[in-house]
């Protein structure tokens, strides 16, 4: 019966070709555009996952509400207190409460790959007459290197050079440029009302991102001392064995602690909203193309059924069942759908291979160029073929069922009249 379906299609070559082109372009466009967008999304996610921690445990963040201070001022049974004006503002904690408790928990959790306690402070960096406001991050470099890629971004010096303490700094390239400093030179760093403390630059890193490159790293003890907060951390960066568990774990940990805990996905939620929008546009476009192609198949098959009534009558007289008649016409739609999808996916794949060879400029301010990141994930091809086959099946089922319902005897009587 497939044989007959193919012959019917070959008999109307021009119509068949035009209908095939619809499915072909739909599938090719889906593969190429999906490859581009998903490749871009994977690239961004890869950057986020690999360059920063998966979960950030930070000092708690509280907001004052109208009755937050009632009991503090008037006792527990104060009744209803009217404030004019009501209290407002934040009452953030400047540190993670009980960090040792977190270290104990994280070090035995099998889902945790590594963690790194940090103390981040905003400081004024100065050298001669130049002064720049930037962040200074105190950390244990060995632990920090396990949760971020900072060690691999070093252009001069080693990240572990700050481990020995003694007021050593690793600075970002942008910060070093703005200070007009070089490696081995000493700069002054002051935090809050503290007096300027000399730090020696022992190396610098370049991430390609200006904001990240406007930071400096020192040993945790040095920064704690600089900040006047010994044994204090305000963030614990955690990397997981499976980064996809980050949001679930962050939500779970939030329930059992008062700290502000966010996953990398929560911190970049606006980015994921943009990805969702991209995905929606991608699907809308393919659905629009395949709907047009589906109408093409519907028209071709409706015309074929109308022109092939006598064939249907003679096939039924030979013992072909209504189901087999449906199959003959349905398979024409499926042949168009499957072959259009295969050819389209192949063409889309070739486009993807070509796009992969193109270069694009790296991050703003970065002199590097990178190759396009195009996804060739199996799921793209699976979705493309499913959408093409689904649309062609839906488009061909109505005319095919109509063919199966035709009465042979009525067709023969019509023919005799």
């Amino acid at each position: 019966m497939i044989f007959l379906a193919i012959r019917y299609l070959l008999a109307k070559r021009k119509q068949t070709l035009f209908t095939l082109m619809g499915i072909f372009f739909g599938s090719a466009a889906f593969v190429a555009i999906s490859g581009f967008f998903i490749g871009f999304q994977d690239y961004i996610v890869d950057k986020l996952v690999n360059t920063s921690a998966h979960i950030h445990i930070q000092a708690r963040e509280d907001f004052l509400e109208e009755h937050s201070l009632d009991s503090s001022f008037f006792g527990k049974n104060s009744g209803y207190v009217f404030w004019s004006p009501p209290p407002s503002g934040r009452k953030d904690n400047a540190r993670v409460e009980n960090p040792q408790g977190w270290y104990d928990r994280l070090s035995v959790d099998p889902r945790v790959e590594a963690y790194s306690p940090q103390l981040t402070a905003s400081g004024i960096f100065s050298k001669a007459k130049s002064s720049v406001t930037a962040s200074i991050i105190g950390c244990n470099p060995a632990q920090q290197a396990k949760v971020t890629t900072i060690a691999s971004l070093m252009e001069e010096g080693k990240f572990t050079d700050i481990a020995a303490g003694g007021n050593r700094l690793i600075v970002g390239k942008e910060l070093m440029k703005r200070l007009g400093a070089t490696v081995s030179q000493t700069i002054l760093v002051s935090v809050g009302t503290g007096s300027p403390t000399p730090f020696k630059i022992v190396g610098y890193f370049n991430s390609g991102n200006k904001n990240s490159d406007l930071q400096a790293y020192g040993s945790l003890e040095d920064v704690q001392k600089l900040n006047g907060t010994p044994n204090t951390v305000n963030e614990i960066a955690v990397s997981l064995k499976d980064y996809k568990q980050a949001t679930n774990l962050a939500l779970l940990w939030s329930k059992i602690s008062s700290e502000k805990i966010e996953s990398w996905e929560q911190q970049n939620s606006s980015l994921f909203s943009m990805f969702a929008l991209q995905d929606a546009l991608r699907y809308m476009m393919i659905i629009a193309i395949l709907t047009v192609a589906g109408f093409g198949i519907y028209n071709v098959l409706t015309m074929t059924v109308s022109h092939k009534k006598k064939d249907i009558a003679i096939l039924r007289s030979m013992g072909y069942s209504p189901k087999e008649i449906v199959y003959i016409f349905l398979s024409q739609g499926l042949i168009l759908g499957v072959s259009g999808a295969i050819l389209g996916m192949l063409f889309g794949y070739l486009i993807c291979l070509y796009l992969q060879t193109l270069q694009f400029a790296g991050a703003p301010g970065s002199a590097t160029t990178e190759q396009m990141h195009i996804s060739l994930a199996f799921s793209i091809f699976a979705q493309s073929s499913m959408l093409a086959i689904f649309s062609s099946t839906i488009a061909s089922i109505i005319p095919a069922l109509a063919a199966g319902r035709l009465s042979p005897i009525e067709i023969i009587r019509e023919g005799a009249e």
Binding site: D311, M318, I412
Partner: protein, 220 residues
Amino acid sequence: MGITAHKIWKTLGDPPLKIIKGISLTINDGEFVSITGRSGAGKSTLLYLLSSLDTPSEGDIEISGYSLKKMKDKDLFRFRTEKMGFVFQFHYLISELTALENVLLPAMKNKQQMKVRGRAEMLLEKFGLADKMGRLPRQLSGGEQQRVAIARALSMNPAYLFADEPTGALDSINGEMVMKIIKDASRESKTTVVMVTHDSDYALLADRQIHLTDGEIASQ
């Protein structure tokens, strides 16, 4: 066992019009029966009822001992493929297939085309179409097309051949050629043939003539 009709009626349209009025008849195995009558007498309707293409409004038909009323659709479709052949006034060849492929169409249903190919070629050769097997229907004359249609009907070596005005669209030379083929099929293969015809001369070639008048058997 042949074909037996038990008081069959066929009513069509609204208001209902009685086309076949309580006909009972028996056609024996290997018998060649012609059905004649004026236009509107119900000849073709009777043929379609006897061949299972149409269903009677009342009454029942038995073919080879099987009641068509009781037969399951699946069994009926298989019975048609394996035991019945049809020839119509118009050839109804599939225009996209060659003459040989058209003849093999019934066999293709059961994927027996390889097995039946030899017989199909033999029939086409016998009907003078040995050099035209690969031609499309539009490349054949009217007589040749009808001979291909008869070869298709006989390709599965059916027990029953139903022919509705098989010479109706042919000139006298081609008509005689077609009648000779049908007569030979009846005589050589012992195929039971039921043929509707307007032509009294062709009707006389049959073993028995059934004459219909106004939906009833006038003579046989």
